[in-house]
Structures are given as structure tokens and as C-alpha cells.
């Protein structure tokens, strides 16, 4: 509960040094998190602008607003920006960066300079890719399928790929930093099974980042070698195999789906616990489900290739493994739901996002079963069904989790409260806009509308118009938080150290926290989410 007379603490990480240099040379994980916040927010709105143009074009069946060439570039750049420069870094590099050291009672990440280097590497990669966009863009799709990307496309494949290659290293270094930090820097008494589930899910994510991203890097190098020097690795005319590219690409890019969604699951575990004031039901099961997803996630890449000329038996293996990866996800959903039972449930904005996440992720996950069923995948793959499915996971899941987390920890990050009423309204707008945008796409896909089509048969128009209308609502929904969060930075009410009455080490320090996070190292003698019978003891 916000204390009536709360004042900002006299010294905290935001007033510990002013000027551009104090930010660009900072080694404070909290400031680096904010640098990332600026980066990912920029790419979210750039990628979103491309999405707006895509939906505008698709409002009519004829390809009339932009040319086919431009349209292909729009969906390519939307995908590249959103996946590599927003979704992958968003939660780990912003919320993870800010919170992991605080949640485990540490002063910083294990390698603060490496953390800053990660941000610079991300920005350099981003600069290459933006340069590719400014030079005229690229048209390969974010998936860069060969031999189109190696022998046919005449667009800026190399600079864009170079950007993704470079950014991958920031991902690897962030993952490395998290793993070492979580192993070595936990506060006294903070055993593995006392860790918040946010930490578990980030640990699982970091493992994927470190193990998966190098495969993406080598794949990009091979594409560049084929394109620049005609190595022919993926070119069948000289004995290469274009499908080999898909194996390599999805060996990274399927686990990358879990890089995007596992951290959001971690956020949702925190939100559900905090806004039910209750321990997460089945803590150990949720924790191990994260690791289970991370491990199984490496074994299912072939389900992206059921129609790509794979053998029937390979398809069987990938199908059954894909069904298995659904189990830990289902376990999480059931545990979150059970956590709400007999909770003390508040309807504050972050909880609305958490509820939105659970509902939309459930639909996203269940429609994944359609795609794991090989005989049915044949019909719906490469259609709008796929587009709808992964947007339910990526937008309905990851972005809902990200926004929920951003609202929950915003008072900690900024020291101030945003306008709760406006925040609830925009959460509802986002939820409605999202469903109107993407639900019709499931139907479109089942009816047979292929993805990546600039023009389409007229019978698909009604559903496309609904989708485009939804997108305009969704777009407005995303702009509102941008505005009131900025506003709150200056005019928001002072939050106090624990505005939600939540437990967790991050609420045991001031808002904003001091540069070293805690004035004295905390000693942990309690389990995660252990609420005392009276809450007063935890309101600072």
C-alpha cells in the first residue's frame, strides 16, 4: 500500500550521476536495463508500424496500397524487428536485467562490463539491420529460407543478416551473465528452491540463449558464404541442400520461441503470486516445467518442416516430441489457475495482463496441438492459421507478460505510480484489439488463405477487414501505456518501496533502489511468495 507521505529516497540509481556519459558508460544493471528498454521500445514501434501497413494493405483483396515487392519487405522487416530486436531481448534484457540481481539479493550481475557490452553489441547489430532497412529493405521473410535468400533475392540480405549475427552475441553474453549470476551471487540463505519462479524461467531461458544462438550464428555465416562466394551449401544445382538450411535455422529458431515465452511465464508466476498474495501452487512443478520446456524445446525443430519433404518417420518423431512439449506448458497453466483458488485477488493492471496472458497462451498452446498433429498440420501450415497461432503465443503471451511485468515493476523502476484507471482501460483495449486482430486469422487459415500474400481471393475479405479493424484498436491500446508511463515519470504519485504489498526481495529495498540495490546484503530465511499471516511486516 502506498504510504500517504511517501517521498523518493534521497539517493537511488537514477540520481547517482547525471549526463549522457553516466548512462552510456554505466555498469549498473538497472541503468543498462533502461538502455535496453529504450532500444526494444523503439523497435517495438518500428515493427508495429510495419504491421499497421501490412494490415492496411490486407483490408482489400487487391494488392493496391503498396506493390508486391514493398509488401514482401514489410512483412519481412516486421518479423525481423519484432523477433530479433524486440521479442528476444524484451523481457530478459529489460526486466531480467533489472530484477535478477535484486531478486537474488546481489549488488549487480556477475559481469557488469560484459552486460554493458551486450547492450552495445545489440545496438551495433540493430544499426546494421536498420541500415539494411534504410537501404531499401529485404524481402526474404524473417526465416531467410534458401535458396531464395542465397541465389534469388536481390535485396539487402547481407547487412540484415549481419545485424542478426551480431545481435546474437549480445544474447549469448546476456545468457552467460544470467547463468553465472544465478549460480554464484545468490544472497545467503537463498537456496535454489527459494528462488522466485522468475529466476527459474530466466535460468532456463539463459541456457537456450547460450546453447542455441551459436547455431543461428553459423547458419547465417553459411548463408552469407553461399550468397557472396557461391559455396553452394544450400544450392541443389551444385550438390547442396536447401532443406539443410531449414534444419539449422529451426534448430535455433524453435528454441528461440521459448527464449521469447519462458521469461513471460516467469513474469506471470510473479504476477499471479503477488496479486493473489499467495504462494504459486506447485512451485517445484512450475520450476521444473521451465527446464523441461527448455530441454524438449531443442528436440522439436522438425515440426516446422512437416511439408518440406521430410521422411514420414522423421515427421512421426517430431510430432510426438512436439506433443510432449505441450505437457509442461499445460502444467504451468493449471498451476497458475490453481494459485488463484482461495487467493486474495486484486484487479490491478498487472493482474489483468496476467489473466490475459493465461487465457491467450492457453488458446495459443491448444492451437499448437493442431499443428503437432501431422495429418492436420499439412492443411493449416503456411496459412493464416500459423500466423494466428504464433501471434497468440508471441503477442498474446510474450507481450502481455512483458506489459504486465512492466506495470508491476514500474513503481520499482521509476519510483512512481502510473494512472491505474487509464492503465486498466488500455489493458482491456489491448485484450479486445488483440483478439479481434488474430482470432479471424485462425478461420482464414482453415479456409485456406496462405500467409505472406499481398493480394488474396475476394471471399477472404470479411475476415481480413475484421483483422485490420482489430489491429487499429490494438495499435491504440499500445500507444496509451507509452504515454501514461512517460507521464508518470514526472507527475506520478511517489510509490514507496512496496506499493502492491507483495513479498520478494525487490520489494524490500527502496523504489527506485540504490545503485548497490541493498544497503546491507539481505539474509533469506523464507520461501518464495511466503506471505505472513499479517501483511504489515512487509510494507516498508
Amino acid at each position: 500500500m502506498p504510504s500517504r507521505t511517501a517521498l523518493l529516497p534521497p539517493r537511488h540509481y537514477l540520481n547517482d550521476g547525471y549526463g549522457i556519459k553516466s548512462w552510456l558508460l554505466t555498469r549498473d544493471h538497472k541503468r543498462i536495463a533502461l538502455l535496453y528498454l529504450a532500444g526494444v521500445t523503439f523497435f517495438f514501434f518500428v515493427g508495429g508500424a510495419f504491421a499497421v501497413l501490412i494490415r492496411l494493405e490486407l483490408a482489400t483483396p487487391a494488392g493496391d496500397l503498396v506493390s508486391d515487392e514493398t509488401y514482401n519487405k514489410l512483412f519481412t522487416m516486421h518479423g525481423v524487428m519484432m523477433v530479433f530486436f524486440f521479442l528476444i531481448p524484451a523481457i530478459p534484457a529489460v526486466l531480467g536485467n533489472f530484477l535478477i540481481p535484486i531478486m537474488i539479493g546481489a549488488k549487480d550481475l556477475a559481469f557488469p562490463k560484459l552486460n554493458l557490452a551486450s547492450w552495445y553489441i545489440y545496438m551495433i547489430g540493430a544499426a546494421f539491420t536498420l541500415w539494411a532497412v534504410v537501404q531499401g529493405g529485404l524481402d526474404t521473410g524473417w526465416t531467410f529460407y534458401t535458396p531464395f535468400s542465397t541465389i534469388a533475392s536481390t535485396t539487402n540480405v547481407i547487412p540484415a543478416a549481419l545485424g542478426i549475427f551480431v545481435t546474437g552475441f549480445s544474447s549469448i553474453l546476456t545468457g552467460l551473465n544470467f547463468i553465472v549470476t544465478i549460480h554464484r551471487m545468490r544472497a545467503p540463505g537463498l537456496t535454489w528452491f527459494r528462488l522466485p519462479l522468475f529466476i527459474w524461467s530466466h535460468y532456463a531461458t539463459a541456457l537456450i540463449m547460450v546453447l542455441g544462438t551459436p547455431v543461428l550464428a553459423i547458419t547465417i555465416v553459411l548463408v552469407a558464404a553461399d550468397r557472396l562466394f557461391r559455396f553452394g551449401i544450400f544450392d541443389p544445382a551444385v550438390g547442396g541442400d536447401p532443406v539443410l538450411f531449414q534444419h539449422l535455422f529451426w534448430f535455433y529458431s524453435h528454441p528461440a520461441v521459448y527464449i521469447m515465452v519462458l521469461p513471460a511465464m516467469g513474469v506471470v508466476s510473479e504476477l499471479v503470486a503477488a496479486f493473489c498474495r499467495k504462494q504459486v501452487f506447485g512451485y517445484t512443478f512450475v520450476a521444473f516445467a521451465s527446464l523441461g520446456i527448455a530441454i524438449l524445446g531443442f528436440l522439436v525443430w522438425g515440426h516446422h518442416m512437416f511439408v518440406a519433404g521430410q521422411s514420414v518417420y522423421a515427421a512421426m518423431i517430431f510430432s510426438i516430441l512436439s506433443f510432449l512439449v505441450a505437457i509442461p506448458s499445460a502444467v504451468k497453466v493449471f498451476n497458475w489457475t490453481a494459485t488463484m483458488y482461495k487467493g486474495s485477488i486484486s484487479w490491478d493492471t498487472p493482474m489483468l495482463y496476467a489473466i490475459g496472458f493465461i487465457g491467450l497462451f492457453t488458446i495459443g498452446g491448444l492451437t499448437g496441438l493442431f499443428l503437432a498433429s501431422v495429418g492436420l498440420d499439412v492443411h493449416v501450415t503456411d496459412t493464416y492459421f500459423i500466423v494466428a497461432h504464433f501471434h497468440y503465443i508471441m503477442v498474446g503471451g510474450t507481450i502481455m507478460g512483458y506489459l504486465g511485468g512492466l506495470h508491476y515493476w514500474w513503481p520499482k523502476i521509476s519510483g512512481r505510480l502510473y494512472n491505474e484507471r487509464l492503465a486498466r482501460i488500455s489493458a482491456v483495449i489491448i485484450f479486445l484489439g488483440f483478439n479481434l486482430t488474430f482470432f479471424p486469422q485462425f478461420v482464414l487459415g482453415y479456409l485456406g488463405m496462405p500467409r505472406r500474400y499481398h493480394a488474396y481471393p475476394p471471399e477472404f475479405q470479411v475476415l481480413n477487414v475484421l483483422s485490420s479493424a482489430g489491429a487499429s484498436i490494438l495499435g491504440v491500446g499500445y500507444l496509451i501505456p507509452m504515454l501514461y508511463l512517460m507521464w508518470s515519470l514526472r507527475y506520478g504519485k511517489v510509490a514507496g518501496s512496496n506499493p502492491w504489498g507483495a513479498v520478494g526481495l525487490e520489494w524490500n529495498t527502496t523504489s527506485p533502489p540504490p545503485t548497490q540495490n541493498f544497503l546491507e546484503t539481505p539474509i533469506v530465511t523464507w520461501d518464495a511468495y511466503q506471505y505472513p499471516t499479517t501483511v504489515e511486516g512487509h510494507v516498508a
Binding site: 500500500m1 508486391d68 509488401y71 514482401n72 524481402d139 521473410g141 529460407y145 531464395f148 534469388a152 544445382a237 541442400d241 536447401p242 532443406v243 493473489c276 498474495r277 499467495k278 504462494q279 506447485g282 512451485y283 517445484t284 512443478f285 511439408v307 518440406a308 519433404g309 514420414v312 510430432s319 510432449l324 505441450a326 505437457i327 499445460a330 502444467v331 493449471f334 489457475t337 490453481a338 488463484m340 483458488y341 482461495k342 487467493g343 486474495s344 492457453t362 491448444l366 493442431f370 503437432a372 498433429s373 501431422v374 495429418g375 492436420l376 499439412v378 492443411h379 501450415t381 503456411d382 496459412t383 479456409l447 485456406g448 496462405p450 505472406r452 493480394a455 488474396y456 505472513p532 499471516t533
Partner: protein, 301 residues
């Protein structure tokens, strides 16, 4: 086949609706029933329950295994064409579909087939990856350069159906569409006799076979410097390396373009490559000709 796919689809749809409503219903009900009534209230102390965890792991596991078997059985049926099919060769290129019928008819972006007969498409690409997708028949398969992939379907109702390229292939990807025209058998016969004029696909292959002088080495009498091709298609060939391969479309294609890759036991690697000398369509003519050679010898005996 479309009905089998749809049955699975609607079962899954029911399952999705059931679980979505279950979860959404519980969440909303709990959110209302257990809403915070005083600012200091906390939730009940509940850690978890092993039985519940087991229940909600095992039930989804069983459901997904049923789905796996169901989905796999549909896929098996899709992957195994009946023995007797009407074969049509398909070549995809940026940005059009070329169809070659065995009787010699050639079509672009339009495929005529009779109702009630299983049709098999044997497909390859001249450039990048494409994908044949006929939503009405619930079939889809990538069309790959340098390889042959198949799909089959049995049209049950005359009509005109969408044909889409479903794998992004560049600028005019969304223009790489066409239609499948399903005709009554009589109309189909009329259509067949109305087109062509160039002779059958195999006849074109035969002409090419002698124009390229393949017949000087590949003789039917086992006296040539190359293996006898009569009766070859579909048989197992023993290679000089000791391996055995089935002489399918891909093997014949490879043997024309990259003859030294798989040398038949007892022969010298002396055949030159025809890479760059024959087009994808001519390759298909040659393959079709080799296939018919099988029947010629049986007739001769």
C-alpha cells in the same frame, strides 16, 4: 481424405473450446469469488498437491498421445498413394506452375483432372522452394529444386478449386496461384482429346533419348556400355559401392545430371553429365520414358 482431416480438426476444435472455457471460466470465477475484500487481506496458505499435479500431467499426456496416433494415421494415409494413380508432373518456377500430363497436354496455372480417380502430382522446382496447396483437398507439399516430392488426392466433386503457392518464393508469390478444374470423366476425355497434338510425354522423352544419343550406350540388348534401362524403374539397383538403391524418379534424375554419384555395379564411370543440357521439363519426359520402358520389355516377351 478431406473428411478425415476435418474430423480431426473439429475434434481438436472441441477440445480447444472445452479447455479454453474451463481455464477462462475458472479464472473469471476465482477472480470474482476470491477478489480482495480488504487492502491487507492475503491468500490462503496452500503449497500444492501431488495428486492434482499428476492428474493434470497425465490427462493431457493421454489426450496428446491419442492426438498423435490420430494425426499420424491421417498423415500415413496422405503419404501413401494408391498403386494406380493418374500421374501429372508439376514444375514450379518463379512465378508459375507448369503441368505436364502423360498424354502430352501441358498447362500453366491450371490443372484439369477427372472426378473419382486418385491423382498423383510428381513435383519439382526450377529455382527456389515453392509449395503446392489445394485447400479444398487438404493437401500441401513443398516443391523443391533438385528433388521430387509427391502429393495425391482423389477429387470427389466436379468444380474449380483454388491452387496456391504456400511457400514464400519472392516478389510475385501471391500471384503464383491457379486452379484445379475437376471434371466429369466424359468431359475430361473430351478435354484430353482436345489438347496436345505433340504426342505423349513418353514419346517426347523417347525423341529426346535418341536426340541426346542416350540410346547408343543404354541399349535394350545388354550389349551397350551403359546399364539396360528396360524394366529398371522401381527395381533395386546394386551399386559399385555395394549399396543398393531403388530406381525412383530421384535416382534417374541424379543419374542424368550427376552420373558418377551412383555407378551400377559392373559398369565404368564414363557417362558425361547432362547438367545444363536438359531442362526440368525434359528431365521429366526422360523419366516418364524410362518408366514406360518397363512395359515395353514385358510386351516383347
Amino acid at each position: 481424405m478431406a473428411a478425415r482431416v476435418d474430423n480431426l480438426y473439429f475434434f481438436l476444435l472441441g477440445l480447444t473450446v472445452f479447455f479454453s472455457l474451463l481455464i477462462a471460466g475458472l479464472i473469471v470465477a476465482y477472480a470474482i469469488k476470491f477478489r480482495r475484500r480488504s487492502p491487507d487481506a492475503i491468500g490462503a496458505v496452500i503449497h500444492g498437491g501431488l495428486m492434482l499435479e499428476i492428474t493434470w500431467s497425465v490427462i493431457p499426456l493421454m489426450i496428446t498421445m491419442v492426438l498423435f496416433v490420430w494425426g499420424a494415421s491421417v498423415f500415413f494415409a496422405m503419404s501413401r498413394p494408391p498403386a494406380e494413380t493418374l500421374n501429372v508432373y508439376v514444375v514450379g518456377k518463379q512465378w508459375m506452375w507448369k503441368f505436364q500430363h502423360l498424354d502430352g497436354q501441358r498447362e500453366i496455372n491450371e490443372l484439369h483432372v477427372p472426378v473419382g480417380r486418385p491423382v498423383k502430382l510428381i513435383m519439382t522446382s526450377e529455382d527456389v522452394i515453392h509449395d503446392v496447396f489445394v485447400p479444398a483437398f487438404r493437401v500441401k507439399a513443398d516443391v523443391l529444386p533438385g528433388r521430387y516430392t509427391n502429393i495425391w488426392f482423389e477429387p470427389t466433386k466436379p468444380g474449380t478449386y483454388h491452387l496456391f503457392c504456400a511457400e514464400y518464393c519472392g516478389t510475385r508469390h501471391s500471384g503464383m496461384t491457379g486452379q484445379v478444374v475437376v471434371m466429369e470423366p466424359n468431359d475430361y476425355q473430351n478435354w484430353l482429346s482436345g489438347g496436345a497434338g505433340e504426342g505423349s510425354l513418353a514419346a517426347a522423352g523417347q525423341k529426346l533419348f535418341s536426340d541426346l544419343a542416350c540410346n547408343t550406350c543404354h541399349r535394350p540388348d545388354a550389349q551397350g556400355r551403359g546399364p539396360v534401362l528396360q524394366n529398371l524403374f522401381g527395381k533395386t539397383v546394386e551399386l559399385a559401392s555395394g549399396e543398393r538403391v531403388v530406381a525412383d524418379e530421384a535416382y534417374i534424375r541424379e543419374s542424368i545430371l550427376n552420373p558418377h554419384a551412383k555407378i551400377t555395379v559392373g559398369f565404368q564411370p564414363i557417362m558425361p553429365t547432362f547438367q545444363g543440357l536438359v531442362t526440368e521439363e525434359q528431365l521429366l519426359e526422360l523419366i516418364e520414358y524410362v518408366k514406360t520402358l518397363k512395359q515395353d520389355t514385358t510386351n516383347a516377351q
